[in-house]
Amino acid sequence: MNEEAQYAQFIRIEQLYEWERLEEAINETENYIQQYPEDADGYAVLSKVYLKKGDHKKALHWSLESLKKDPENEIAWEFRVSTLYTAGKYKETMTAIQEALTLFPDDAFYYFLEGNIYNKDGKYEEAKERFLIALKLEPSNALYLANYSYVESILGNQEIALQAEKQALQLDSENSMVFLYVAWAADQRGDYAQSLSYLENAVRLEPNNQQFRVEYLEILQKQFKVYQWLLVPSRMLMKVKPAVVFLIWFVAWMLFKPLVVVFIILYVAAHWTTKMIVNVKVFGRLFVKV
Protein backbone atom coordinates (compact mmCIF):
# COMPACT_ATOMS: atom_id res chain seq x y z
CA MET A 1 0.00 0.00 0.00
CA ASN A 2 2.74 2.42 1.05
CA GLU A 3 4.84 1.47 -1.95
CA GLU A 4 1.84 2.00 -4.19
CA ALA A 5 1.26 5.47 -2.74
CA GLN A 6 4.95 6.30 -3.15
CA TYR A 7 4.84 5.14 -6.76
CA ALA A 8 1.63 7.12 -7.43
CA GLN A 9 3.26 10.28 -6.08
CA PHE A 10 6.33 9.71 -8.23
CA ILE A 11 4.13 9.29 -11.30
CA ARG A 12 2.29 12.51 -10.45
CA ILE A 13 5.63 14.38 -10.37
CA GLU A 14 6.50 12.93 -13.78
CA GLN A 15 3.10 14.05 -15.12
CA LEU A 16 3.51 17.60 -13.86
CA TYR A 17 7.01 17.64 -15.35
CA GLU A 18 5.72 16.49 -18.74
CA TRP A 19 3.01 19.17 -18.69
CA GLU A 20 5.67 21.73 -17.78
CA ARG A 21 3.79 22.69 -14.63
CA LEU A 22 7.16 23.06 -13.01
CA GLU A 23 6.24 25.00 -9.86
CA GLU A 24 3.70 22.33 -8.97
CA ALA A 25 6.23 19.62 -9.82
CA ILE A 26 8.71 21.26 -7.43
CA ASN A 27 6.12 21.40 -4.62
CA GLU A 28 5.14 17.80 -5.21
CA THR A 29 8.79 16.67 -5.22
CA GLU A 30 9.50 18.59 -2.03
CA ASN A 31 6.57 16.79 -0.41
CA TYR A 32 7.94 13.52 -1.70
CA ILE A 33 11.37 14.26 -0.20
CA GLN A 34 9.77 15.15 3.13
CA GLN A 35 7.97 11.82 3.18
CA TYR A 36 10.84 9.72 1.87
CA PRO A 37 14.01 11.59 2.88
CA GLU A 38 16.21 8.53 2.36
CA ASP A 39 15.16 7.99 -1.25
CA ALA A 40 17.91 9.48 -3.44
CA ASP A 41 15.55 9.47 -6.45
CA GLY A 42 13.49 12.31 -4.92
CA TYR A 43 16.48 14.69 -4.82
CA ALA A 44 17.55 13.60 -8.31
CA VAL A 45 14.10 14.32 -9.72
CA LEU A 46 14.15 17.75 -8.08
CA SER A 47 17.42 18.36 -9.93
CA LYS A 48 15.72 17.30 -13.17
CA VAL A 49 12.81 19.72 -12.61
CA TYR A 50 15.13 22.62 -11.79
CA LEU A 51 17.12 21.90 -14.95
CA LYS A 52 13.95 22.15 -17.04
CA LYS A 53 13.11 25.38 -15.21
CA GLY A 54 16.52 26.72 -16.21
CA ASP A 55 17.75 27.06 -12.62
CA HIS A 56 21.14 25.40 -13.07
CA LYS A 57 22.44 26.28 -9.62
CA LYS A 58 19.60 24.47 -7.87
CA ALA A 59 19.73 21.59 -10.35
CA LEU A 60 23.39 21.03 -9.49
CA HIS A 61 22.73 21.38 -5.77
CA TRP A 62 19.98 18.75 -5.73
CA SER A 63 21.90 16.32 -7.92
CA LEU A 64 24.72 16.55 -5.39
CA GLU A 65 22.29 15.98 -2.50
CA SER A 66 21.05 12.87 -4.28
CA LEU A 67 24.59 11.59 -4.83
CA LYS A 68 25.30 12.09 -1.11
CA LYS A 69 22.49 9.63 -0.36
CA ASP A 70 23.44 7.28 -3.15
CA PRO A 71 26.73 7.91 -5.01
CA GLU A 72 25.61 5.61 -7.81
CA ASN A 73 22.18 7.11 -8.43
CA GLU A 74 21.67 6.98 -12.18
CA ILE A 75 19.13 9.83 -12.38
CA ALA A 76 21.35 12.12 -10.31
CA TRP A 77 24.37 11.46 -12.54
CA GLU A 78 22.34 11.97 -15.70
CA PHE A 79 21.01 15.33 -14.57
CA ARG A 80 24.26 16.49 -12.98
CA VAL A 81 26.02 15.96 -16.30
CA SER A 82 23.09 17.37 -18.30
CA THR A 83 23.01 20.51 -16.14
CA LEU A 84 26.73 21.14 -16.51
CA TYR A 85 26.38 20.64 -20.27
CA THR A 86 23.32 22.93 -20.56
CA ALA A 87 25.09 25.59 -18.47
CA GLY A 88 27.91 25.54 -21.04
CA LYS A 89 30.50 24.31 -18.52
CA TYR A 90 32.02 21.90 -21.00
CA LYS A 91 35.29 21.28 -19.18
CA GLU A 92 33.45 20.30 -16.00
CA THR A 93 30.98 18.28 -18.08
CA MET A 94 33.84 16.27 -19.56
CA THR A 95 35.22 15.52 -16.07
CA ALA A 96 31.76 14.53 -14.79
CA ILE A 97 31.24 12.33 -17.88
CA GLN A 98 34.47 10.45 -17.18
CA GLU A 99 33.34 9.86 -13.58
CA ALA A 100 29.89 8.73 -14.71
CA LEU A 101 31.40 6.39 -17.31
CA THR A 102 33.40 4.56 -14.62
CA LEU A 103 30.03 3.71 -13.01
CA PHE A 104 27.97 3.27 -16.17
CA PRO A 105 30.37 2.30 -18.96
CA ASP A 106 27.54 1.13 -21.20
CA ASP A 107 25.42 4.24 -20.94
CA ALA A 108 25.26 5.64 -24.46
CA PHE A 109 24.02 9.02 -23.24
CA TYR A 110 27.44 10.06 -21.93
CA TYR A 111 29.21 9.22 -25.22
CA PHE A 112 26.53 11.20 -26.99
CA LEU A 113 27.14 14.28 -24.82
CA GLU A 114 30.90 13.90 -25.27
CA GLY A 115 30.31 13.84 -29.02
CA ASN A 116 28.25 17.02 -28.77
CA ILE A 117 31.03 18.81 -26.90
CA TYR A 118 33.64 17.73 -29.47
CA ASN A 119 31.25 18.96 -32.14
CA LYS A 120 31.02 22.38 -30.51
CA ASP A 121 34.83 22.51 -30.30
CA GLY A 122 35.10 21.79 -34.01
CA LYS A 123 36.67 18.37 -33.33
CA TYR A 124 34.41 16.59 -35.80
CA GLU A 125 36.35 13.33 -36.15
CA GLU A 126 36.35 12.82 -32.35
CA ALA A 127 32.64 13.73 -32.26
CA LYS A 128 31.86 11.19 -34.98
CA GLU A 129 33.77 8.51 -33.09
CA ARG A 130 31.76 9.17 -29.88
CA PHE A 131 28.45 9.15 -31.75
CA LEU A 132 29.40 5.83 -33.29
CA ILE A 133 30.05 4.35 -29.81
CA ALA A 134 26.70 5.72 -28.60
CA LEU A 135 24.97 4.20 -31.62
CA LYS A 136 26.68 0.86 -31.09
CA LEU A 137 25.15 0.80 -27.62
CA GLU A 138 21.78 2.18 -28.72
CA PRO A 139 21.40 1.66 -32.48
CA SER A 140 17.76 2.79 -32.55
CA ASN A 141 18.21 6.09 -30.80
CA ALA A 142 16.86 8.71 -33.19
CA LEU A 143 18.55 11.61 -31.44
CA TYR A 144 21.99 10.02 -31.65
CA LEU A 145 21.40 9.23 -35.31
CA ALA A 146 20.36 12.81 -35.99
CA ASN A 147 23.55 14.12 -34.34
CA TYR A 148 25.62 11.61 -36.23
CA SER A 149 23.96 12.74 -39.45
CA TYR A 150 24.89 16.34 -38.64
CA VAL A 151 28.55 15.59 -38.00
CA GLU A 152 28.85 13.45 -41.15
CA SER A 153 27.29 16.31 -43.06
CA ILE A 154 29.93 18.71 -41.72
CA LEU A 155 32.66 16.22 -42.66
CA GLY A 156 31.28 16.23 -46.21
CA ASN A 157 30.02 12.63 -46.14
CA GLN A 158 26.59 13.62 -47.42
CA GLU A 159 25.41 10.18 -48.42
CA ILE A 160 26.02 8.67 -44.99
CA ALA A 161 24.51 11.82 -43.44
CA LEU A 162 21.35 11.50 -45.53
CA GLN A 163 21.00 7.83 -44.65
CA ALA A 164 21.29 8.56 -40.91
CA GLU A 165 18.87 11.47 -41.25
CA LYS A 166 16.27 9.27 -42.91
CA GLN A 167 16.71 6.55 -40.31
CA ALA A 168 16.42 9.05 -37.44
CA LEU A 169 13.13 10.39 -38.75
CA GLN A 170 11.77 6.91 -39.37
CA LEU A 171 12.48 6.04 -35.75
CA ASP A 172 11.03 9.18 -34.23
CA SER A 173 9.10 11.84 -36.08
CA GLU A 174 7.71 13.44 -32.92
CA ASN A 175 10.96 14.57 -31.33
CA SER A 176 11.75 18.25 -31.71
CA MET A 177 15.46 17.74 -31.00
CA VAL A 178 15.72 15.13 -33.76
CA PHE A 179 14.19 17.65 -36.15
CA LEU A 180 16.66 20.30 -34.98
CA TYR A 181 19.74 18.19 -35.74
CA VAL A 182 18.52 16.90 -39.09
CA ALA A 183 17.69 20.51 -39.93
CA TRP A 184 21.30 21.42 -39.17
CA ALA A 185 22.49 18.55 -41.35
CA ALA A 186 20.31 19.79 -44.22
CA ASP A 187 21.49 23.35 -43.61
CA GLN A 188 25.09 22.14 -43.75
CA ARG A 189 24.65 20.64 -47.24
CA GLY A 190 22.93 23.86 -48.34
CA ASP A 191 19.46 22.33 -48.59
CA TYR A 192 17.68 25.27 -46.97
CA ALA A 193 14.20 24.25 -48.08
CA GLN A 194 14.54 20.86 -46.37
CA SER A 195 16.06 22.50 -43.32
CA LEU A 196 13.09 24.88 -43.14
CA SER A 197 10.65 22.00 -43.29
CA TYR A 198 12.46 20.22 -40.41
CA LEU A 199 12.66 23.36 -38.28
CA GLU A 200 8.98 24.04 -38.92
CA ASN A 201 8.26 20.69 -37.31
CA ALA A 202 10.62 21.36 -34.41
CA VAL A 203 9.10 24.72 -33.59
CA ARG A 204 5.57 23.40 -33.98
CA LEU A 205 6.30 20.63 -31.49
CA GLU A 206 8.00 22.93 -29.00
CA PRO A 207 7.27 26.59 -29.70
CA ASN A 208 8.29 27.57 -26.20
CA ASN A 209 11.89 26.63 -26.88
CA GLN A 210 13.75 29.83 -27.68
CA GLN A 211 16.49 28.10 -29.65
CA PHE A 212 13.91 26.57 -32.01
CA ARG A 213 12.21 29.91 -32.54
CA VAL A 214 15.48 31.69 -33.26
CA GLU A 215 16.71 28.98 -35.63
CA TYR A 216 13.36 28.81 -37.41
CA LEU A 217 13.46 32.54 -38.07
CA GLU A 218 17.07 32.27 -39.26
CA ILE A 219 16.23 29.52 -41.71
CA LEU A 220 13.35 31.62 -43.02
CA GLN A 221 15.96 34.29 -43.77
CA LYS A 222 18.05 31.72 -45.59
CA GLN A 223 15.21 31.08 -48.04
CA PHE A 224 16.21 34.34 -49.78
CA LYS A 225 18.58 33.58 -52.64
CA VAL A 226 20.70 36.74 -52.11
CA TYR A 227 21.30 35.80 -48.51
CA GLN A 228 22.10 32.20 -49.54
CA TRP A 229 24.86 33.40 -51.90
CA LEU A 230 26.37 35.60 -49.25
CA LEU A 231 26.44 32.68 -46.84
CA VAL A 232 28.51 30.43 -49.12
CA PRO A 233 31.92 31.64 -47.83
CA SER A 234 30.92 31.26 -44.18
CA ARG A 235 29.62 27.72 -44.87
CA MET A 236 32.92 26.80 -46.48
CA LEU A 237 34.95 28.39 -43.69
CA MET A 238 33.06 26.36 -41.08
CA LYS A 239 34.85 23.23 -42.28
CA VAL A 240 38.34 24.60 -41.62
CA LYS A 241 40.15 25.31 -38.36
CA PRO A 242 39.71 28.75 -36.69
CA ALA A 243 43.38 29.62 -37.29
CA VAL A 244 43.00 28.91 -41.01
CA VAL A 245 39.82 31.03 -41.09
CA PHE A 246 41.77 33.93 -39.60
CA LEU A 247 44.57 33.46 -42.12
CA ILE A 248 42.15 33.39 -45.09
CA TRP A 249 40.46 36.60 -43.88
CA PHE A 250 43.84 38.26 -43.37
CA VAL A 251 45.10 37.35 -46.83
CA ALA A 252 41.80 38.38 -48.45
CA TRP A 253 41.92 41.69 -46.61
CA MET A 254 45.48 42.39 -47.74
CA LEU A 255 44.88 41.43 -51.37
CA PHE A 256 41.27 42.49 -52.08
CA LYS A 257 40.50 45.13 -49.47
CA PRO A 258 37.69 46.89 -51.46
CA LEU A 259 36.06 43.57 -52.35
CA VAL A 260 36.08 42.43 -48.72
CA VAL A 261 34.51 45.74 -47.66
CA VAL A 262 31.80 45.41 -50.32
CA PHE A 263 31.15 41.82 -49.23
CA ILE A 264 30.78 42.85 -45.57
CA ILE A 265 28.40 45.70 -46.46
CA LEU A 266 26.32 43.44 -48.69
CA TYR A 267 26.23 40.74 -46.03
CA VAL A 268 25.08 43.11 -43.27
CA ALA A 269 22.48 44.70 -45.56
CA ALA A 270 21.14 41.31 -46.68
CA HIS A 271 21.07 40.00 -43.12
CA TRP A 272 19.03 42.90 -41.76
CA THR A 273 16.72 43.23 -44.75
CA THR A 274 15.82 39.54 -44.75
CA LYS A 275 15.47 39.58 -40.96
CA MET A 276 12.99 42.45 -41.13
CA ILE A 277 11.00 40.82 -43.93
CA VAL A 278 10.76 37.62 -41.89
CA ASN A 279 9.73 39.57 -38.78
CA VAL A 280 6.92 41.28 -40.68
CA LYS A 281 5.77 37.97 -42.17
CA VAL A 282 5.75 36.10 -38.85
CA PHE A 283 4.95 38.78 -36.29
CA GLY A 284 3.60 41.67 -38.34
CA ARG A 285 6.36 43.96 -36.99
CA LEU A 286 9.84 45.02 -38.14
CA PHE A 287 11.67 44.56 -34.85
CA VAL A 288 10.95 41.70 -32.50
CA LYS A 289 12.56 40.22 -29.42
CA VAL A 290 12.17 36.49 -29.93
Binding site: W19, P207, Y216, K289
Partner: protein
Protein backbone atom coordinates in the same frame (compact mmCIF):
# COMPACT_ATOMS: atom_id res chain seq x y z
CA UNK B 1 -36.04 25.72 -5.56
CA UNK B 2 -37.01 29.41 -5.73
CA UNK B 3 -37.79 30.99 -9.09
CA UNK B 4 -37.55 34.75 -9.77
CA UNK B 5 -39.85 36.84 -11.93
CA UNK B 6 -37.91 36.03 -15.12
CA UNK B 7 -38.37 32.37 -14.48
CA UNK B 8 -34.77 31.86 -13.42
CA UNK B 9 -33.80 29.88 -10.37
CA UNK B 10 -32.36 31.91 -7.55
CA UNK B 11 -30.45 28.90 -6.31
CA UNK B 12 -28.01 26.82 -8.30
CA UNK B 13 -27.78 23.11 -7.61
CA UNK B 14 -24.05 22.35 -7.46
CA UNK B 15 -22.80 18.78 -7.51
CA UNK B 16 -19.19 17.90 -6.75
CA UNK B 17 -17.22 14.71 -6.31
CA UNK B 18 -16.03 14.32 -2.73
CA UNK B 19 -12.75 12.48 -2.77
CA UNK B 20 -12.74 11.56 0.92
CA UNK B 21 -16.20 10.02 0.82
CA UNK B 22 -15.69 8.78 -2.75
CA UNK B 23 -19.14 9.96 -3.70
CA UNK B 24 -21.01 12.86 -5.25
CA UNK B 25 -22.32 15.52 -2.92
CA UNK B 26 -24.96 18.14 -3.60
CA UNK B 27 -25.23 21.71 -2.35
CA UNK B 28 -26.96 24.89 -3.39
CA UNK B 29 -25.36 28.22 -4.16
CA UNK B 30 -26.83 31.56 -5.20
CA UNK B 31 -27.44 31.43 -8.91
CA UNK B 32 -25.34 33.65 -11.21
CA UNK B 33 -26.41 34.76 -14.67
CA UNK B 34 -24.77 36.59 -17.59
CA UNK B 35 -25.83 39.86 -16.01
CA UNK B 36 -23.34 39.11 -13.22
CA UNK B 37 -20.47 38.58 -15.66
CA UNK B 38 -18.80 41.88 -16.47
CA UNK B 39 -17.47 42.36 -20.02
CA UNK B 40 -16.64 39.34 -22.23
CA UNK B 41 -19.38 40.46 -24.64
CA UNK B 42 -18.09 38.44 -27.61
CA UNK B 43 -17.81 35.32 -25.49
CA UNK B 44 -21.33 35.76 -24.13
CA UNK B 45 -22.66 36.28 -27.66
CA UNK B 46 -21.07 33.03 -28.84
CA UNK B 47 -22.40 31.14 -25.85
CA UNK B 48 -25.88 32.60 -26.42
CA UNK B 49 -25.77 31.36 -30.00
CA UNK B 50 -24.56 27.87 -29.23
CA UNK B 51 -25.99 27.09 -25.84
CA UNK B 52 -28.82 29.34 -24.85
CA UNK B 53 -30.76 30.29 -27.97
CA UNK B 54 -31.19 26.67 -29.13
CA UNK B 55 -33.15 26.15 -25.92
CA UNK B 56 -35.27 29.24 -26.34
CA UNK B 57 -35.94 28.83 -30.08
CA UNK B 58 -35.61 25.11 -30.68
CA UNK B 59 -37.63 25.20 -33.93
CA UNK B 60 -35.16 27.51 -35.73
CA UNK B 61 -32.18 25.49 -34.70
CA UNK B 62 -33.83 22.17 -35.47
CA UNK B 63 -34.62 23.37 -38.98
CA UNK B 64 -30.88 23.83 -39.50
CA UNK B 65 -30.05 20.53 -37.86
CA UNK B 66 -28.69 22.04 -34.65
CA UNK B 67 -29.73 20.78 -31.25
CA UNK B 68 -29.43 21.94 -27.68
CA UNK B 69 -26.47 20.61 -25.77
CA UNK B 70 -22.89 20.10 -26.78
CA UNK B 71 -19.48 21.07 -25.54
CA UNK B 72 -17.33 24.12 -25.25
CA UNK B 73 -13.74 24.74 -24.23
CA UNK B 74 -12.84 27.85 -22.27
CA UNK B 75 -9.17 28.74 -22.21
CA UNK B 76 -7.05 31.61 -21.04
CA UNK B 77 -4.74 32.75 -18.26
CA UNK B 78 -5.46 31.37 -14.80
CA UNK B 79 -7.73 33.31 -12.48
CA UNK B 80 -9.79 35.08 -15.16
CA UNK B 81 -13.19 33.69 -14.28
CA UNK B 82 -13.65 30.55 -16.36
CA UNK B 83 -15.45 28.78 -13.51
CA UNK B 84 -17.63 31.82 -12.82
CA UNK B 85 -18.62 32.01 -16.48
CA UNK B 86 -19.52 28.31 -16.55
CA UNK B 87 -21.70 28.80 -13.47
CA UNK B 88 -23.36 31.79 -15.09
CA UNK B 89 -24.20 29.63 -18.13
CA UNK B 90 -25.87 27.14 -15.79
CA UNK B 91 -27.77 29.99 -14.13
CA UNK B 92 -28.78 31.39 -17.48
CA UNK B 93 -30.38 28.14 -18.67
CA UNK B 94 -31.74 27.04 -15.29
CA UNK B 95 -29.48 24.02 -15.30
CA UNK B 96 -27.79 22.14 -12.50
CA UNK B 97 -24.04 22.57 -12.27
CA UNK B 98 -21.52 19.81 -11.81
CA UNK B 99 -18.03 20.95 -11.02
CA UNK B 100 -15.54 18.22 -11.78
CA UNK B 101 -11.94 18.63 -10.69
CA UNK B 102 -9.21 16.25 -11.67
CA UNK B 103 -7.80 15.96 -8.17
CA UNK B 104 -11.16 14.75 -6.89
CA UNK B 105 -11.77 11.96 -9.36
CA UNK B 106 -8.21 10.69 -9.70
CA UNK B 107 -7.66 7.53 -7.75
CA UNK B 108 -4.47 5.61 -7.27
CA UNK B 109 -6.34 2.37 -7.85
CA UNK B 110 -6.34 1.29 -11.45
CA UNK B 111 -9.75 1.58 -13.07
CA UNK B 112 -11.33 3.59 -10.28
CA UNK B 113 -10.64 7.02 -11.84
CA UNK B 114 -12.53 5.95 -14.98
CA UNK B 115 -15.32 4.66 -12.80
CA UNK B 116 -15.49 8.01 -10.98
CA UNK B 117 -15.53 9.85 -14.29
CA UNK B 118 -18.41 7.70 -15.51
CA UNK B 119 -20.32 8.37 -12.27
CA UNK B 120 -19.98 12.11 -12.77
CA UNK B 121 -21.38 11.86 -16.31
CA UNK B 122 -24.20 9.65 -15.06
CA UNK B 123 -25.03 12.26 -12.42
CA UNK B 124 -25.19 14.86 -15.19
CA UNK B 125 -27.61 12.67 -17.13
CA UNK B 126 -29.79 12.29 -14.04
CA UNK B 127 -29.86 16.04 -13.41
CA UNK B 128 -30.76 17.34 -16.88
CA UNK B 129 -30.54 20.10 -17.92
CA UNK B 130 -27.06 20.18 -16.55
CA UNK B 131 -23.82 22.04 -17.11
CA UNK B 132 -20.92 19.69 -16.51
CA UNK B 133 -17.84 21.78 -15.93
CA UNK B 134 -14.51 19.95 -16.27
CA UNK B 135 -11.79 22.01 -14.68
CA UNK B 136 -8.13 21.55 -15.67
CA UNK B 137 -9.14 19.51 -18.69
CA UNK B 138 -5.52 19.30 -19.82
CA UNK B 139 -4.73 17.24 -16.74
CA UNK B 140 -7.26 14.59 -17.76
CA UNK B 141 -7.12 14.87 -21.50
CA UNK B 142 -3.48 15.85 -21.90
CA UNK B 143 -1.51 15.02 -25.00
CA UNK B 144 -1.45 11.26 -25.14
CA UNK B 145 2.06 11.21 -26.54
CA UNK B 146 3.22 12.41 -23.16
CA UNK B 147 1.34 9.71 -21.37
CA UNK B 148 3.52 6.76 -20.79
CA UNK B 149 1.30 5.01 -18.33
CA UNK B 150 -1.39 2.79 -19.67
CA UNK B 151 -3.87 3.82 -16.97
CA UNK B 152 -3.60 7.49 -17.96
CA UNK B 153 -4.62 6.63 -21.50
CA UNK B 154 -7.54 4.69 -20.08
CA UNK B 155 -8.86 7.85 -18.43
CA UNK B 156 -8.63 9.82 -21.69
CA UNK B 157 -10.38 7.01 -23.52
CA UNK B 158 -13.13 6.96 -20.92
CA UNK B 159 -13.59 10.70 -21.32
CA UNK B 160 -13.84 10.28 -25.10
CA UNK B 161 -16.39 7.55 -24.61
CA UNK B 162 -18.52 9.71 -22.33
CA UNK B 163 -18.30 12.68 -24.69
CA UNK B 164 -19.23 10.59 -27.72
CA UNK B 165 -22.30 9.56 -25.78
CA UNK B 166 -23.33 13.23 -26.00
CA UNK B 167 -25.42 12.45 -29.06
CA UNK B 168 -27.08 9.34 -27.73
CA UNK B 169 -27.70 10.00 -24.04
CA UNK B 170 -26.47 13.45 -23.35
CA UNK B 171 -29.21 15.62 -24.80
CA UNK B 172 -29.55 18.58 -22.45
CA UNK B 173 -26.06 18.15 -21.05
CA UNK B 174 -23.68 21.00 -21.64
CA UNK B 175 -20.09 20.00 -21.16
CA UNK B 176 -17.77 22.91 -20.56
CA UNK B 177 -14.07 22.24 -20.30
CA UNK B 178 -11.59 24.73 -18.94
CA UNK B 179 -7.86 24.77 -19.38
CA UNK B 180 -4.95 27.16 -19.07
CA UNK B 181 -2.97 25.13 -21.60
CA UNK B 182 -5.19 24.12 -24.53
CA UNK B 183 -2.10 23.26 -26.59
CA UNK B 184 -1.48 20.23 -24.38
CA UNK B 185 -4.92 18.78 -25.07
CA UNK B 186 -5.18 15.45 -26.78
CA UNK B 187 -6.09 16.13 -30.41
CA UNK B 188 -8.79 13.46 -30.17
CA UNK B 189 -10.62 15.71 -27.72
CA UNK B 190 -10.68 18.54 -30.22
CA UNK B 191 -12.53 16.73 -33.01
CA UNK B 192 -16.04 17.80 -34.07
CA UNK B 193 -18.67 16.94 -31.50
CA UNK B 194 -16.15 17.09 -28.70
CA UNK B 195 -14.34 20.22 -27.51
CA UNK B 196 -14.06 21.72 -30.96
CA UNK B 197 -15.36 25.15 -29.93
CA UNK B 198 -12.67 27.19 -28.26
CA UNK B 199 -13.40 30.40 -26.39
CA UNK B 200 -10.65 32.66 -25.13
CA UNK B 201 -11.34 34.15 -21.72
CA UNK B 202 -9.19 37.24 -21.46
CA UNK B 203 -8.12 39.10 -18.33
CA UNK B 204 -10.68 41.69 -17.20
CA UNK B 205 -10.77 45.04 -18.99
CA UNK B 206 -10.42 48.27 -17.02
CA UNK B 207 -14.17 48.65 -16.30
CA UNK B 208 -14.37 45.03 -15.16
CA UNK B 209 -11.35 45.51 -12.94
CA UNK B 210 -13.06 48.47 -11.33
CA UNK B 211 -16.15 46.35 -10.65
CA UNK B 212 -14.01 43.53 -9.24
CA UNK B 213 -12.09 45.92 -6.98
CA UNK B 214 -15.34 47.46 -5.70
CA UNK B 215 -16.68 44.00 -5.00
CA UNK B 216 -13.56 42.82 -3.18
CA UNK B 217 -13.34 46.02 -1.12
CA UNK B 218 -17.05 46.16 -0.28
CA UNK B 219 -17.79 46.35 3.47
CA UNK B 220 -14.12 46.86 4.36
CA UNK B 221 -13.21 49.94 6.43
CA UNK B 222 -11.94 52.41 3.83
CA UNK B 223 -11.15 56.02 3.19
CA UNK B 224 -12.43 57.44 -0.15
CA UNK B 225 -10.76 54.86 -2.37
CA UNK B 226 -10.25 55.74 -6.01
CA UNK B 227 -11.27 52.44 -7.58
CA UNK B 228 -11.11 53.85 -11.07
CA UNK B 229 -7.49 54.96 -10.73
CA UNK B 230 -6.38 51.68 -9.20
CA UNK B 231 -8.20 49.80 -11.97
CA UNK B 232 -6.37 51.84 -14.59
CA UNK B 233 -3.03 50.95 -13.00
CA UNK B 234 -3.72 47.21 -12.98
CA UNK B 235 -3.56 46.45 -16.70
CA UNK B 236 -3.37 42.69 -17.46
CA UNK B 237 -4.21 41.74 -13.85
CA UNK B 238 -6.44 38.68 -13.56
CA UNK B 239 -9.35 38.52 -11.13
CA UNK B 240 -7.21 36.36 -8.88
CA UNK B 241 -4.34 38.90 -9.08
CA UNK B 242 -6.73 41.66 -8.01
CA UNK B 243 -7.88 39.56 -5.09
CA UNK B 244 -4.26 39.11 -4.01
CA UNK B 245 -3.66 42.82 -4.39
CA UNK B 246 -6.61 43.66 -2.15
CA UNK B 247 -5.43 41.01 0.31
CA UNK B 248 -1.98 42.65 0.51
CA UNK B 249 -3.50 46.11 1.01
CA UNK B 250 -5.81 44.82 3.74
CA UNK B 251 -2.85 43.22 5.47
CA UNK B 252 -0.95 46.51 5.66
CA UNK B 253 -4.06 48.39 6.90
CA UNK B 254 -4.54 45.72 9.52
CA UNK B 255 -0.93 45.92 10.60
CA UNK B 256 -1.23 49.70 10.91
CA UNK B 257 -4.37 49.27 12.97
CA UNK B 258 -2.61 46.89 15.34
CA UNK B 259 0.33 49.25 15.72
CA UNK B 260 -1.90 52.29 16.36
CA UNK B 261 -4.29 50.38 18.61
CA UNK B 262 -7.36 51.60 16.67
CA UNK B 263 -9.02 50.62 13.42
CA UNK B 264 -7.30 52.28 10.46
CA UNK B 265 -9.24 52.49 7.19
CA UNK B 266 -7.83 51.12 3.96
CA UNK B 267 -6.34 53.93 1.85
CA UNK B 268 -5.31 54.48 -1.74
CA UNK B 269 -1.76 54.41 -0.45
CA UNK B 270 -2.20 50.84 0.85
CA UNK B 271 -3.40 49.74 -2.56
CA UNK B 272 -0.66 51.62 -4.40
CA UNK B 273 2.00 50.11 -2.19
CA UNK B 274 0.59 46.64 -2.72
CA UNK B 275 0.55 47.38 -6.45
CA UNK B 276 4.24 48.25 -6.46
CA UNK B 277 4.99 44.75 -5.15
CA UNK B 278 2.76 42.79 -7.52
CA UNK B 279 3.04 42.03 -11.20
CA UNK B 280 0.24 40.56 -13.33
CA UNK B 281 0.58 36.79 -13.47
CA UNK B 282 -1.14 36.69 -16.85
CA UNK B 283 1.95 37.96 -18.70
CA UNK B 284 3.79 34.69 -18.24
CA UNK B 285 0.79 32.88 -19.70
CA UNK B 286 0.69 35.28 -22.64
CA UNK B 287 4.38 34.79 -23.42
CA UNK B 288 3.81 31.02 -23.71
CA UNK B 289 0.49 31.43 -25.54
CA UNK B 290 2.09 33.83 -28.01
CA UNK B 291 4.66 31.21 -28.96
CA UNK B 292 2.01 28.55 -29.50
CA UNK B 293 -0.22 30.96 -31.42
CA UNK B 294 2.64 32.17 -33.64
CA UNK B 295 4.57 28.99 -34.31
CA UNK B 296 2.34 26.04 -33.59
CA UNK B 297 -1.19 27.01 -34.54
CA UNK B 298 -1.88 25.28 -37.84
CA UNK B 299 -5.67 25.54 -37.45
CA UNK B 300 -5.60 29.18 -36.29
CA UNK B 301 -7.24 28.18 -33.02
CA UNK B 302 -5.47 30.86 -31.03
CA UNK B 303 -5.98 33.82 -33.33
CA UNK B 304 -8.05 35.43 -30.56
CA UNK B 305 -4.94 35.44 -28.37
CA UNK B 306 -2.86 37.16 -31.06
CA UNK B 307 -5.62 39.74 -31.60
CA UNK B 308 -5.80 40.38 -27.88
CA UNK B 309 -2.01 40.80 -27.66
CA UNK B 310 -2.11 43.31 -30.49
CA UNK B 311 -5.04 45.28 -29.11
CA UNK B 312 -3.51 45.44 -25.65
CA UNK B 313 0.05 46.06 -26.84
CA UNK B 314 1.46 43.07 -25.00
CA UNK B 315 4.86 42.14 -26.42
Amino acid sequence: MTIDHEGKRKQLKVIQFDKDRNTLIEKTEPSETFADVGGLEEVKKKIQMNFILPLKNPEFFKAYGKEAGGSLLLYGPPGCGKTFLAKAIAGEINASFIHMELQAILSMYIGESEHNLHDVFEAARENKPCVLFIDELDAIGGNRQNMRQHHERMLVNQLLLELDGLDAHNHGIYVIGATNTPWYLDSALRRPGRFNQLLFISPPAVEEREVILKLKLKDKPQNSLNHKKIASKTAHFSGADLEQLVGDAIESALQRSLEMGELQPLTNNDLNEALSRRKPTTLEWFSTAKNYATFSDVNKDYQQVLDYLKENKIR
